[in-house]
Amino acid sequence: MLGFSTRSDKARAEFEGLVAPWLDALYGGALRLTRNERDAEDLVQDTVMRAYRFFDKFQRGTNFRAWLFKILTNTFINGYRRQVKERSLGDESERQSVEAQFFSSDTTDQAQNPEDYLVQRVMSEDVLKAIDTLPIDFRMVVILADLQEFSYKEIAEILDVPVGTVMSRLFRGRRQLEAVLRKDEHEAAAPLVDLNAYRERKKLG
């Protein structure tokens, strides 16, 4: 009893050590998949729990991050997709709270120039909103490629599709994203996609 209890403590400690560095990344991905904080938190928790349960199936030395994201996307596809669709209209207040959170938080790369920082924040929000408008198949590939910087091959393994499918989804997803941002650009008084141009305009105005 003692022997096996220390063995399982060791496995748990190993798992905790492996998963801890990726919780932020998982949460970031989950936020874009579910498009609201509450579901994102639940999704991360479910993902980590399932990963822990299947940890003995994980082959040591292989790509743990990709393995985690495979579980994340599978968990999302199996359990969250419908649920999220049903309440996609009702989450405006939660979106507000996301904004509130990262306007108030002065975390990572607060630029020397506070104006740059603010501009970047606003533009970030536009990019994330644009990603959220993508159909789920394109969105998953864009999240994995541009947010998480997985290689085509890793994405193909995570989503269980051929590399060719990854490429075509990524191509179409990015093109659609570009179109959305360009549309914003035309609607907005200032083109938000070009930081320098935006700053120039501010100076002029």
Binding site: V48, L128, L170
Partner: protein, 271 residues
Amino acid sequence: MNCPDVDPLLMPYLDGEVVEADRLEVEQHLASCEPCAKRSERSRHHRTLVRTLAKAGTPAAPEALKARVFTTIRSEQTRQRQRRFLRLSAAAAGVALCALAGHHQWRSFQRRLYVEDAASRHARQFPLEVRLPQPEALEAWFDGKLGHRVAVPRFPNATAEGARVLNVREKQAAYIRYDAPTRASAQPRQVGLFVFGDNANDVDVGARGEPSLGNSNGYNVVTWREGDIVYQLVTDLEEDDIRELLPSEPGRAPLPTARQPLEAQPASFRR
């Protein structure tokens, strides 16, 4: 390479996902074709912008979530441990049950062998070594012949004919033959009784030491135990007649009233 060849390679090129040879060709083309170079530059710019801004706008996981995740892992570990323990206990219980069942089967198989051997030896009518009707005289005759004292049971209605030493399987036994009356006919029937020591408890007499009724070769065999001594009574008497014969013995449980399975008793013996 011309423009239509380069176009599908542009995105993988920007992502660093083309093989070396393709990369060189794409770069060569971009150096010489301004529209493609512009397009590529715009794509690169867009890609960098999206990546930078999306990452900058993504908040870290809330500390409360991280704490909750680790708490859940620990409680899941406890649950797993309990589940594993339960599974292990269930498996152990299963093994024990199989062993018990196996042991039980083995015991009843052994008993069956003793019943068969007693019946077949009784059937062969071995000659008696001594003919004495008094139980006391028979007990005196057996004295010193076997590794145990032989108490010759007194059956009120049956009279002893005589006795001899006769094995049941590997056990050296006292064999006493009686004549017993029956209710169905005037002709007395022969009853053989084996008495042997069994301190190793090789013969399973069934629960609570009650007499057990078996059947072999058309004979009913009643087996009971008194301490280390096993008695096997072999007869072609009916069950009811056996009941008449046996209950008077003091200190012994009566023959069970519920009919034991009398395995395939020939109809001729049921009358």
